[in-house]
Symmetry: C2
Subunit: 433 residues, 2 copies
């Protein structure tokens, strides 16, 4: 059981998201022993998490146990634990249940939902970062329609059938479009009494356009496509306050049983504990080689960093950037370990982000995409999006039969994903032991 006899350097990787997992996958065998720590036991295919929230896919479609993914990586030990703090001078990481010493540290703890100084809004407007977030949103949306079916009060019914999505970035656009389709195509069939044409999805964005990171033409296309699905797109509208079932806007107050927050992301709260400078969202300002200033043995990757690469590109908080950073860190660390102590960290080439393009889907047959200088929208963009995700998922789940089932489920809305469970009926069960 013990690895005390192993004298190879110890690499500790914190986080099994796209950055940390890619590091563990790409890091060559034999050079070091690697310990990968995550507070969950799974890797989450985060770009499709909104599909779980909108009852289009089931949890196993987008999550895989980390231990299974890394089963053949004999150097890698996986621990399910939470990071509590760092001692960079002593080169240790404090976990909830133990302390790990490291020779090299890779910190890839991701991001979190930010409420811009209003943490009390979270209770009324959940964000979308984890499986539990997605299941909570799905449960509450489906349950609201169940209650709408039973009520005779038209005001109450309207409240139950209204979904407000706050934030017009990719997640907000994807959520709003998919909820609109769910209402019009799926729930309309499921519910006998309800008139689903009176159901509403309202997308509220504070700035004058959707998808700020995209060219303005694509923002306009996205808006037109959402509106064709029946989404009400409200631009330039600031949220003043969020209460139970209420969103207070400058000129009116919206009543909605479901309010979803897709407006803000920030770096992991552990980022600032690394001692380096951070931006306003708590993202760590790393050096061009992704190392922590003053600590070449510590690398920080993924959504928790703020970096502009030598080409002048801001490295975005998206999964391709995280995967590229993970691969880059694995490569540079492997090179240094092979070279031995002689190689000074100063010789590391800087990380350069390769922008493969960005896309956002709008419902099940529309999308907007930017690939290099090309812009796509509508069905062509959606086909490209589908193709890219399917290729990713094939690698991810690795079996043709599963791919077929997934495609089928995706195109038809997976029925089983509309099963409501997990409502707390009593006190939560104690964890094992």
């Amino acid at each position: 059981m013990s690895t005390a006899a192993d004298t190879r350097p110890h690499v500790v990787v914190l986080g099994a998201g796209f950055a940390g997992l890619t590091f563990a996958q790409k890091f060559p065998a034999g050079l070091a022993r690697v310990t990968l720590v995550d507070r969950t036991n799974h890797h989450l295919f985060q770009p499709l998490l909104y599909q779980v929230a909108t009852a289009g896919l089931a949890v196993p479609d987008i999550a895989q146990p980390v231990r299974s993914i890394l089963a053949r990586k004999r150097d890698v030990t996986v621990l399910m634990d939470e990071v509590a703090g760092f001692d960079l001078a002593a080169r240790t990481v404090q976990l909830r249940q133990s302390v790990l010493s490291y020779d090299h540290l890779v910190v890839a703890l991701g991001g979190r939902t930010s409420y811009f100084g209003h943490p009390e809004w979270e209770r009324h407007a959940p964000g979308l970062k984890t499986i539990d977030d997605a299941l909570r949103i799905r449960r509450n949306v489906l349950h609201a329609f169940e209650r709408a079916e039973m009520t005779d009060d038209p005001t109450e019914r309207q409240r139950l059938m209204t979904i407000v999505v706050i934030g017009g970035g990719p997640t907000g656009v994807e959520l709003a479009g998919t909820f609109a389709e769910l209402q019009r195509h799926v729930l309309a069939r499921d519910f006998r009494r309800l008139n689903l044409r009176t159901a509403r999805v309202i997308l509220v964005e504070g700035s004058p356009r959707l998808l700020n990171a995209y060219p303005p033409e694509l923002s306009d296309r996205a808006r037109a496509q959402l509106e064709s699905l029946g989404v009400a797109v409200w631009l330039g509208v600031q949220v003043r306050e969020i209460r139970d079932s209420e969103v207070v806007l400058p000129n009116e107050t919206l009543r909605a049983a479901n309010i979803i927050w897709a407006a803000g992301v920030a770096g992991s709260p552990l980022g600032p504990q690394l001692g380096a400078e951070t931006d306003r969202a708590g993202r760590v300002k790393v050096l061009p080689d992704l190392s922590l200033p003053g600590h070449p043995e510590v690398r920080v990757l993924g959504d928790m960093i703020a970096l502009t690469d030598p080409m002048g590109q801001i490295v975005p908080g998206v999964s391709p950037a995280a995967m590229q950073a993970g691969a880059y860190a694995a490569q540079t660390l492997a090179r240094e370990l092979r070279a031995g102590a002689a190689a000074a960290p100063a010789c590391r080439a800087p990380f350069v982000y390769f922008d493969k393009g960005t896309m956002a889907t709008i419902g099940r047959s529309r999308a907007v995409a930017k690939i290099g200088r090309l812009q796509f929208s509508g069905f062509t963009a959606w086909l490209a999006w589908l193709f890219i995700h399917l290729v990713f998922l094939v690698g991810f789940r690795n079996k043709l039969s599963v791919l077929l089932s997934w495609t089928y489920s995706y195109l038809t809305f997976r029925r089983g994903a509309r099963v409501i469970y997990g409502f707390p009926r009593e006190d939560p069960p104690p964890p094992a032991g």
Copy 2:
């Protein structure tokens, strides 16, 4: 939205398990309006629920929204609500959120886990009746192994790696066999440090043999097959007390992070509220035509009844019996409605249970089965079991691609089912609205 203009009789069906759902599916169109009430929004394929608890299948594999299943039944309205009580004289059912008047009532509320007068044991030894039960068991078992991987204390590690299943009926046998396979074949690959050969599954049964409803030879076969999988089978051992992580037996106290209760079932607690005589487990003593004594307009079906049919067979609490009762009730009620008031209820032919045989699986390639006078065990019985379940599931999920995916997942243990989620991190979210 209103059905006030519909003057057809109103049939209210309580429960969307095998009995209630089969009734709704088999009841002919045009004769009545039907309202189906269930406290969940899904039908659960209960015979495979243990596969969710043992991380072999995912929730969507065994649950489907009731609204989807009945989408083409234009006469049927589905309500998600809970039954609070009955007023048989006024012919109304009190739900949590409304009151339903009926002309004919079908009560099929199923069973529940019974702790034989020790409800305080539930906290330490969950039963297996709902999706939430299954997910709770799965989460706690997987989490215990995660913690075992991290601990250096051998006593604690043994506690975390021990699963005690109480009750040697079909559910207990299936759980114990599948947990043993999970430990030895799946977790052994997933966990790098643990020696899974020291993991234990102990099946405790108070009577002298397993599977009391089966012939003694099959009980012996089941025991031998479980032992070949590494399960410790303790027969004739009474449970005195269950505490946190402890099962107190006459001669020793077992320490186990996971204790699962599969020892007792009882009828729905609403059964006794129907006013008829009940047996010790709270099951309603119905007339041979499944009606409530004195109330020919009320039928009681499924796991909540106690009945011996005219052939002298005790109608068992299994899904084939529930489905047969649902079909029988749909047929007799349809005949009466077609005949009009002239037909007296007295002319109903009694319900006769057709025993298609019973089987219990032991792991993924063993089973015991009794079909008529024939007995099978081992791989032959398991093939028969698999075939029967697959045929059921084809009807249930209706698509070849899904069947393929399911078969593949079943045979390989569905990876995604080992994803741990749903641990309460904070206060439970409020229900929508």
